[in-house]
Amino acid sequence: MHRFANPSQFMRVAEAMLPWMVALCIPLMAAGLYFGLWASPADYQQSETVRIMYIHVPSAFLAQGAYIVMALGSASFLIWKHPLGDLIARAAAPIGCIFALICLVTGSLWGKPTWGTYWVWDARLTSMLILFFLFLGYLALANAFDDPARGDKPAAILAVVGIVNIPIIKFSVYFFNTLHQKSTLFGDLFSSGEEAGASGLQQPDIAAAAAQQGSALPPSMLLPLMLMLAAFSVFFLILLVLRLRGELATVRLRALRAGLRAG
């Protein structure tokens, strides 16, 4: 396992996997779009607007996943001084930032027809907005110094401290009054079947049965959501490898230039 901590060794493995990830991502995305936009039913309460869920939930999932990757990378950089941790964090930050923005925008566009408003200052929406600002703050801090190596540490500390926001996002729909519906996939962990049924994402007769199976979603809606979650996750890994490659080249470039100046 230790040899993967060598950046060039790590990149060799990651780049070998790249074509396979692309080959996996395209059919997953195509199937997700087909089932999400065409072959799934409209919701009995939200009608066609429920289709926004198939991109809104995966982008929220990815934004938080990217944050966790960024925080773990930063923590390993702070604890073991491992440069790969910092590079992974720097590669994950812009991806998470864009997905947090996509989540906020698609959420607004979903909120207008279903809630009657683009935005409310409740716990879920506000904590998601804070996640977006944490990404922006990390990027600003990591790139604030003329010598980028000086930004590594403060940015890594921000990333690690900011992780408290992740459980806040997760539990915000349970601990606070909110317009936001409860967790779609893991609702049963925190609420009874009846409450999950009240989330408004299914037909009443299917709701009870689906809630017992552990999800509030009927299979016809669960399928496109799962396909999109998988497609988005693979897409995230592809972007991570591509950006990591760029970050590694940047580090090499910097080292070469420093060597030239010194020589």
Binding site: E48, I95, I98, I102, V105, L242, R243, G246, L253
Partner: protein, 68 residues
């Protein structure tokens, strides 16, 4: 399921919300992908240039040392 392509585009009257969501989402993802690839290509060509100029600089020096 939709009866016609027109119905599909209309999305039960919610077309603007749904298509704007999907458009912005995939637009953002494509921009991120292109930007990631372009950044790497730019860095790679800078690296190659730098390595090439270093090789050009070091070769005459090495030759002059050999002749001495």
């Amino acid at each position: 399921m939709f009866d016609s392509f027109g119905d599909f585009l209309a999305m039960g009257g919610y077309g603007p919300y749904i298509w704007a969501s999907y458009g912005l989402c995939f637009g953002g993802m494509v921009i991120l992908l292109i930007q990631s690839i372009l950044t790497w290509k730019k860095r790679r060509s800078e690296l190659e240039q730098l390595e090439a100029s270093r090789a050009r600089q070091s070769t005459p020096a090495a030759r002059s040392k050999e002749t001495q």
